[in-house]
């Protein structure tokens, strides 16, 4: 990978250029990465490292074997020369337009630049028009809200922009920024293939525009599409791939990429948040919590991705931490969907589901396609026993993203609650298909099969077996497997699973009724198999417990001893006719 210094200088130039073109979010991203590059110890001043403190502790905890920064073999990074500005001195009109733009008066900005022909001016004019259209579109979305949820407000500038930009592209007088805008327009038009090509051209000639990368990433819905892209090598490509992998649920690949990137951008909050996201998907809640604690210490006014942190706190039932977080984001920016979600989570944890639904609703009002809010709202409705509403919420989540296994699972649960196990199976099957290494899903499905109504025990056994094979934390599967086999009269298999379950309980030092049940079954089984010694061991262990099992064990022991003593007697009798 290119040296830190070159990255730094590239980013510095890029930020200036992006700012010049009013591409603010891309420049924000670039600036964040710029600060994230590790400072040379030589220039170590407290002011420079203000945003970099504390991070080393994470690295100590999770990266004991620090990878040396050697790039993967065969990859050579071409450092693209930073673009030359075509107009060194901005025209007066450009300055006026940019000021208007900064004041969000987009149409005025576009009007000022009407007769300018420079690439920069052309881009800004088009971009201003595009944003003006977007603004109008959002207003219309509210105005036009039809009776049946019709919301077909469109950006009315798109058609003319597309015409102009396509001509510019054909004539070869378009810069990478123009290509990015062209890509945006094409996406809005629904022409995904061309959009992908155009965005690819844009990032290949100017890789520092993160907005272009993320648009490109949103177009890569399958791994095949991702692999078909031809991207020139640049360190920005690594960021892109990491984020694309994450979106495609290849969490481990994505983690590797991010960890590799951390060698250069060791203090990047962005990368840390992304790592946390991947860990969250892998259900490593402990690590997520640690990362977010660090992140929020560095960047206390952060709202992005913090809702995930709140989910972790919810799962760990940290009341006060969650309330503190909710309070903080509320003070920072209460009209962010993330903030509403966090507050909703807090109320849910407190058991005040009506209020929680209220806040989830607000989050959805702010962003109708906010996936996790739909799912979480579904959970709340389930808690409130309002199954139809829950089903509706989950279904909307599924329609937004059909790969959301939680919502499918929620749908299944809702139907199971209503006593429709066969109907629920359809949904469990969906969720299991998407997340086949989650034991909870398999167990839920198995329980469906096990219900009195269906009583399809063979299928249930199959599901439990899958659950047991993928790290079943609560160890339900083994116990159920043993029980089902016993019920079906297959004592050999039952004994095998009871023994496994027993071993596991011993290893985890758990006690309880399951233990007693396992011991009792094994004792009886061994006695039937005439393995008295083993049976005795189990019986003696049972004696440690109170309850009726203890008495049973005692009598069994007694019975076996008499049998043992009588066996030799019988033999003797045989020998003495």
């Amino acid at each position: 990978m290119s040296s830190r210094e070159s990255c730094r200088s590239e980013l510095r130039t890029a930020i200036r250029q992006l700012n010049d073109r009013c591409l603010y979010s891309a420049s924000k991203w670039a600036a964040e990465q710029l600060v994230g590059i590790e400072q040379d110890p030589a220039k170590f001043t407290p002011s420079n490292t203000r945003f970099q403190r504390g991070s080393s502790s994470i690295r100590r905890r999770f990266h004991t074997n620090d990878v040396t920064s050697t790039p993967p073999a065969g990859v050579s990074y071409v450092s693209t020369p930073v673009m030359e500005e075509d107009e060194v001195v901005d025209g007066d009109f450009y300055l006026l337009a940019k000021s208007y733009f900064d004041c969000r008066e987009y149409r005025r900005a576009a009007h000022v630049l009407q007769d300018q022909t420079g690439k920069k001016a052309t881009f800004l004019r088009c971009y201003a028009l595009y944003l003006a259209g977007e603004k109008r579109k959002e207003e219309e979305m509210i105005e036009l809200e039809g009776p049946l949820g019709k919301s077909d407000a469109v950006n009315r500038e798109v058609a003319s922009l597309e015409r102009e930009l396509s001509i510019l592209r054909k004539n070869g007088i378009i810069d990478p920024f123009g290509l990015y805008l062209y890509g945006l327009v094409l996406i809005e038009k629904g022409n995904q293939n061309l959009a992908r090509t155009v965005l690819m051209e844009s990032v290949n000639s100017y890789p520092w525009n993160w907005s272009a990368w993320s648009e490109l990433q949103s177009l890569c819905t399958t791994i095949e599409i991702l692999n078909s892209l031809t991207l020139s090598n640049h360190w920005m490509k690594e960021f892109f791939l990491a984020s694309a992998y994450q979106e495609l649920r290849m969490h481990n690949e994505s983690l590797t990429k991010y960890e590799h990137l951390q060698n250069t951008f060791s203090f990047s909050n962005y990368i840390r948040a992304q790592i946390a996201k991947a860990q969250y998907c892998l259900r490593e809640f402990e690590q997520v919590e640690v990362i977010f604690e660090e992140l929020l210490r560095n960047d206390p006014y952060r709202v992005e991705d913090v809702d995930m942190y709140s989910n972790v706190l919810y799962a760990k039932e940290c009341f006060s931490a969650l309330s503190y977080l909710a309070h903080r984001v509320f003070m920072t920016d209460k009209y962010r969907p993330e903030s509403c979600c966090i507050i909703g989570n807090y109320y849910s944890l407190k058991g005040q589901h009506e209020k929680s639904v209220l806040y989830f609703r607000r989050a959805l009002k702010l962003n109708k396609n906010y996936l996790s809010a739909w799912t979480l709202m579904g959970h709340e409705y389930v808690e409130m026993k309002n199954t139809p509403a829950a089903i509706d919420a989950y279904r909307r989540a599924v329609d937004i993203n059909p790969r959301d296994y939680r919502a499918w699972y929620g749908l299944g649960q809702a139907y199971e609650m209503m006593g429709m196990p066969f109907y629920a199976l359809h949904y469990f099957k969906k969720s299991v298909f998407l997340q086949s290494n989650d034991s909870r899903l398999w167990i839920a499905m198995a329980q469906c099969y096990e219900t009195d109504q269906l009583h399809m025990l063979e299928e249930a056994i199959k599901c439990y077996r899958r659950a047991a094979s993928c790290n079943d934390r609560e160890a339900i599967a083994l116990h159920q497997l043993a029980k089902l086999h016993a019920e079906l009269g297959r004592s050999e298999e039952a004994a095998l699973y009871y023994k496994k379950d027993l071993e596991r309980m011993e290893a985890e030092e758990r006690e309880g009724p399951n233990m007693v049940e396992a011991l009792l079954f094994l004792a009886q089984h061994c006695r039937e198999q005439k393995r008295f010694e083993e049976a005795e061991v189990y019986c003696t262990r049972l004696l440690d417990y109170t309850g009726p099992e203890k008495e049973t064990a005692k009598s069994m022991l007694r019975g076996m001893r008499t049998a043992e003593s009588s066996f030799p007697l019988m033999d003797i009798e045989h020998f003495h006719p």
Partner: protein, 924 residues
Amino acid sequence: MAAASAFAITPHKVSVCVLLQMYALPTQATPPFSSVSQHNRLGLYILSLTKSYDDILEPKLEDLISQLREIGGSLGPWLIDHLTSRVSSLSSPDDLFTFFSEMRGILGGSDSVVIEDNQVILDPNSILGMFLRRCVLAFNVLSFEGVCHLLTNIGIYCKEVLSNCMPYELHRLDGSSNDLESLSECENMDLENFVFGKVNEEIEERKEATERVSFHLHATQAICGLVEDVEVVTDPRSKHHDKGTEDCPHVHRPGTESQDVDPYGEVFLRTNWQVQGYLTEQADAIEKHGGSVSFNTFELILRQIKKLAPELHRVHYLHYLNSLYHDDYFAAVENLHCYFDYSAGIEGFDFVPPSGSNNSARYEIALLCLGMMHFYFGHPKQALLVLTEAVRISQVQSNDSCLAYTLAAICNLSSEIGSSITAGILGTSYSPVTSMGSSVSVAQQLFVLLKESLKRAESLKLKRLVASNHLAMAKFDLMHVQRPLLSFGPKASMRLKTCPVNVCKELRLCSHLISEFASETSTVATDGAFSTAWLKNLTKPMGSLVLTQENESGENFHALQFCAQSSSIPRSVLQILGSSYLLRASAWETYGSAPLARINALVYATCFTDSSSSSDTALVHAKLIQHLAAFQGYKEAFSALKVAEERFLSVSRSVLLVLKLQLLHERALHRAHLKLAQQVCDELGVLASSVMGVDMELKREASLRHARTLLAAKQFSEAAAVAHSLFCMCYKFNMQVENATILLLLAEIHKKSGNAVLGLPYALASLSFCQSFNLDLLKASATLTLAELWLSLGSNHAKRALTLIHGALPMILGHGGLELRARARIAESKCYLSDPSYSDFLCGFIFSLVFEDSEVVLDPLRQASDELQVLEYHELAAEGFYLMAIIFDKLGKLEEREEAAASFKKHVMALENPQDEDPLLNLL
């Protein structure tokens, strides 16, 4: 969603308001309405504009203008002019405000308005009055932004017609001058068209080639279907490709030119009510015509509705239906679940939009639908699981009507799937009604279920369900032997019998529906259907002519009344009634009354084809064609079959295909084309293979025909073996009625093989079967076989045979087909000839020229040989002519003898050298 907000004011509604104003204030018209009928006609037109559901989108101004031109007659140009000028004069928000306050003046009831001489006072509670009030209300609740949008939309709405006065701004907004884009799109399309054109040509060629080879139509059909699908899939957005699917006249396609939804907000859905009506209509059409409705065309429409009204969840249901009838399992499952997730089973089933209190979710309906879907796709096991779940949930939710429907569905399932499969399932799973245990046979379980279901339906007053339960009961009575439910020991009286009386009774009870449905109909729905029909009639030339001329307008109103009346009986009622006639026809077929069967089939074909599903119609056609073949020979039958095949091109090929194979087989056997017969038989066997799910009926048919082919090839032992195994199968699956036929076949085999003694018990058994199952025609034919067997035992049994034949003759001559009649006649004359007393008599009077007596023998022979020649049944015809020749010889009529002998020779030659060229095959 509140009802008020579901009604948005749109440019089209504004123009309807303008029309209403013209209707209500006729004096303002410079040439006032020339007659009352013309005035009424405009009113009717406005009414149907607000009610009809022939399309999902509101019509554009041009459409409105062209319709007005037809309606208005001489007044048309003036109406159009007034409308366009009025609408296009609305150029500022204030114009709209004045316009709508003017509108309020039309309504009656407000005293302040000065009433002019001729003014029609609109009752605020009439349909048009309500419409106007809703428009005014919808306008009044609009925000200023809303008014601005309305104004813009009105501008766009007018612009297309009055392009000369198009303001600059609109032009800019519309962005209509992007020729570049359209140009490139055109290029793409052309290319695709070209490619597909080539493919199509290829297919055409291949089709021709295969058609010449033989009648294997499945393969080509499949390929064509494939191509059609591919063609449409590749370019779902283009309208050019509609060409490929245009051969489906069933689904009305809303204006294709608006399929690319214009992104500039000038496309509006009609009112919720109208769209729902449209969807219901389409659902009916899909259910009726099955797979022949083009999948992609309809899918496009649905997508469009979904875009315009994302909260209208019924669209998912239509998606489900569409994919169901195009055998797309996964899409069907997906959409079904989606629909019920959103609607919770409330929306859509009865025409009521979800109100605020939706705590009465009815997911049991989802289960019922899912069960039916599994049934449709041939997963009886899943279907039963789901339906039992539905029974349980509807009991929990105390949704009695759903329970009744579910029970009916289970009955249907267990009777349709056949005893073979359900036996295992019903035994193991929880039987929903009673835990009868596995000792009771499936048929008895079904009987109990049917009774239970009927009782429920009756107590809930679900009239359609009662009727269809009666039908199911009749079907059960027709096919199953009544037996006491509990029988102990061998001594219990086991009188096996079917009860035609019961069948008849059930069928009659079913027909009561027609007098009872009246209370159920919702007048609203018919209203809409009427308007739709009226508007559709407009486009027909006859309608437009009539209106302008005074004297003929009465006629048109007759037509209108007829429209209204025909749609006043709900389609579902007609469908049930139709199927009762279908069942009647098959019942009479079974009991052996050909004329009654034919009459019922004809009644069905003439009265109920409009309302019934096309597969049922095809079935009826098949029945009629079969009848034709039996009574008028193959030539007629084949030409009728050809017509039927054209009519049911893509629908339910299987019924007609089976029929075709049956006819071909029959004919091949008669003409002794054994090779062809075997080939056809094999094809039938392929159809009956278990790939598509087991159809016992078809399986039986295939092996029966196999046995008959073997018999014709004189491989007696093989034929007997096949028949035996078939008998065992039928016995195993309780198909007693079918067994009578098989026993008769066995008797036939033994007769032909010369073992008359062995044949006798089979014939007798068949006879007793027929007797207890009331199969009269089959009984007659069994009697005939019995007589033939006796006859072949020697001439001393001729008298007994003759009595038998004479006993059966009335039935045979009244109801039997050509073949049976001819056989009976030949057998009769053979009896006469072999009767020793009679031959003596014939010899003795041979010179006495008593022709009357010889006519007793000759006449049936002549008739028989005529009939056999129609059938081209060479073997039997040769026999007939042989007998004739002998008699003529005896009578000394040499000339006639030679003639008969020549005919005999001709048939024998044909029998021995079967020609491969068959003129009739070319007909197909």
